[in-house]
Symmetry: C2
Subunit: 429 residues, 2 copies
């Protein structure tokens, strides 16, 4: 069954999603792109045509939409007969777009947790503050809603599920590690929307320790890892979406998120934060204008999409899982390495956008063919990770595992080196 | 003759000016304070009463005024029968207030050069772009206008004049050195209006070298000085108002301005500048709001006046003059040291405001008693420095000289150690 897709948003991730939908439009139907700024949608469509990404001739259409407007979004879903909505717009839109999907029956996906512009770092688990309040409504409407299906959150949730089921009898800790060892050559830039990027770091850093929430400060805990390809990498304990569902769904007592930061990033961030320029609360200028400082910082920083052409180097993102198997302690790193230049050559985006966009399209394909069309709201760790990982291997994001001196490609639908007869694939609920 | 004074502005310098006018109201008449925000004028008046600064009972009155409005300013000058206007408001106001003075006959003074909000670092000499265009109008109206009579510009111009006339046969270079070795205990703050402070450093740094303008970059030239009291101090070549008149009036081939900066200040400044947050040109936020980044930075930084209570340490500002006397090379430092805590104890301000405000009031007293009432527009180096320096010695800013192993108080109206019979006092033009 072919399903029309509506992409909401026209930033860096939307760009990748459009290209990847086009490359896979044999399994999808029409592709629509909607955002507040029509010209940005049109630019994406031009890029798709330039790169010849459409696998077969098909409809690719741009729409102007304020996705905070539920009625307008419902109208567009119906007018385009879209059955899958890939929301890769601002996280401020999630609840509005989700509502439009519930009311029209379209499947919903996003790649980041809902945020209220006026609030930063609410009480954990964050999903309970917004998305999970619509779980019952999704179930009643039999609407599939896959939350947070970018790379992190998204793939790292699937990696956790896959590692638990395939490599361990019991798991004690999961450390999610996200390192961008690339270089964009600019004085300073964030790799995705600066407003959203900084909001991650300005307040309490939640980690899941001994089965309960622990509040930490940003840059309080530093750790060096020796990662494949990117080598020795310095990271800091960071708050992140996936902890807020994985802590509730996996039964693992310790889950932490570590993000790589260079000294320069930390210096710029520290200056901006200490001056109050990362605040989402408005200030009043001497001329009496009400301004949100963070919005001004966003306005002066480079558009993340503009970084792509000169970006070099690689990202390495994965889960370091520790536990035991057959009574022996064990440690497995399951990870992906993505190259900025290769991503740009393929779809005109850097690796940060690429790693976030490809999983969303893989999920759309799994919904379209029924594998993940579960008729309810789920986080990624609640779904069968095997078809997802296998599909991404063929879409440009290859999963690898490193443990016990081995380092190999994981292909769950072919053969897994480590899988024993007692391992079982967990089905989606 | 008693002269009523109208103070325009209600910031840190205005605070000092009001206190010092009050302390000297035996020689002045009524004191009026006007700014856009009435409550700030009222707060200054309260402080004057609290400290008992009024030497004798006298009128002290607050007024709401938009000093960009020439007619409103003229009305207030006439209504208060003010004969001296001390403009210590934003430098954006200079030309409007000057015009109001020319049309009403009131004497005009300010402590910083006129600026256009939309332009930074125009072609030198800066005074020729604005103030000096009104020179003829001042002359015709017989209006005294003393430009830039704070500490720097102002006192340092008088120091240059005084040094040239009293210590040298010929002068080769004047290095103006401004070091604040104080500590306000905050993460970061500017010592006066951040908008004006940063505008000094964001563009070309002009210096006067071999009788012509040289363009430099900010933080390009670094120099350590061994100063009295503050000791070894690191400074950087900086663009500053006084070079733009001193270069034209003194016949000295090399005039440079050096400002002290700590590494932390430079780091914060560098981050903000490189990100584009010090720009006076508006940017558009994602929400479509037009915002001037520099105004937002100003809004988040501490109000300079709020730093005063906890400020400790001292400033050292002066002129290092090099030339020859009787055929021998000679080097004289003429300078002032001001203490933050002492300034606060006396008038409730830190030393940066104190050193800028006291000279303005000294100038007002010299205009009031006729000494400096020249009936035209002048920069400070065109006036007789002796009565000015002598008066400030008694008002809280003591001038000292260091040369040839000596270090002593300069009191030009008593006796100058170095003055020979061939030295002459230069009269105001």
């Amino acid at each position: 069954m072919k399903r029309n897709v509506l992409i909401i948003g026209a930033g860096g991730v939307a760009h990748v999603v459009a290209h990847k939908c086009a490359q896979n439009n044999v399994q999808l139907g029409d592709i629509h792109i909607a955002s507040r700024t029509l010209s940005k949608c049109q630019a994406i469509i031009e890029s798709v045509h330039e790169k010849g990404s459409l696998r077969k001739p098909g409809l690719l259409q741009a729409h102007q939409l304020d996705a905070m407007d539920v009625e307008a979004t419902k109208f567009l879903i119906r007018a385009t007969r879209s059955q899958i909505v890939i929301n890769v717009g601002s996280p401020f839109l999630n609840m509005s777009v989700l509502q439009a999907c519930i009311e029209t029956g379209a499947a919903y996906m996003d790649t980041a947790i809902h945020e209220d512009p006026a609030k930063v770092c609410e009480a954990p688990p964050w999903y309970a503050n917004y998305e999970w309040k619509r779980r019952q409504a999704c179930k009643e409407a039999r609407v599939t809603a896959v939350l947070g299906v970018g790379f992190d959150p998204g793939v790292v949730n699937a990696y956790a599920r896959y590692a638990i089921d395939s490599y361990f009898d019991s798991v004690d800790s999961i450390d999610i590690i996200d390192v961008n060892a690339g270089s964009h050559g600019r004085y300073f830039a964030t790799n995705f929307d600066p407003e959203i990027n900084f909001r991650e770091f300005v307040s309490t850093v939640w980690s899941w320790e001994n089965n309960s929430w622990k509040a930490n400060q940003m840059f309080e805990h530093r750790k060096e890892w020796d990662l494949p390809v990117t080598g020795k990498s310095t990271t800091y304990l960071t708050g992140h979406d996936e902890l807020h569902s994985m802590s509730q769904n996996l039964g693992v007592p310790n889950i932490r998120f570590w993000m790589g930061f260079g000294d320069h990033y930390i210096n710029v961030f520290t200056v901006l934060k200490n001056l109050g320029l990362l605040s989402e609360q408005p200030v009043r200028t001497a001329r009496g204008q009400e301004v949100v400082p963070l919005e001004v910082v966003k306005a002066v920083l480079p558009d993340p999409a503009s970084l792509a052409p000169g970006y070099t180097g690689k990202t390495c993102i994965g889960d370091l899982v520790k536990g035991s198997k057959h009574g022996e302690p064990r440690e497995v790193l399951i990870y992906n390495v993505c190259d900025h230049e290769e991503s740009f050559a393929e779809v005109g985006s850097q690796a940060i956008s690429y790693t976030a966009g490809v999983p969303a399209v893989a999920a759309a394909l799994l919904i379209a063919n029924g594998t993940w069309d579960v008729g309810g709201m789920v986080n990624v760790e609640e779904l069968d990770p095997a078809p997802f990982i296998a599909l991404m291997n063929r879409m440009g994001l290859v999963t690898r595992a490193r443990h016990d001196g081995q380092d190999y490609v994981v292909d769950p639908q072919q053969q897994v080196v480590e899988r024993s007869s007692t391992d079982k694939v967990v089905n989606s609920r």
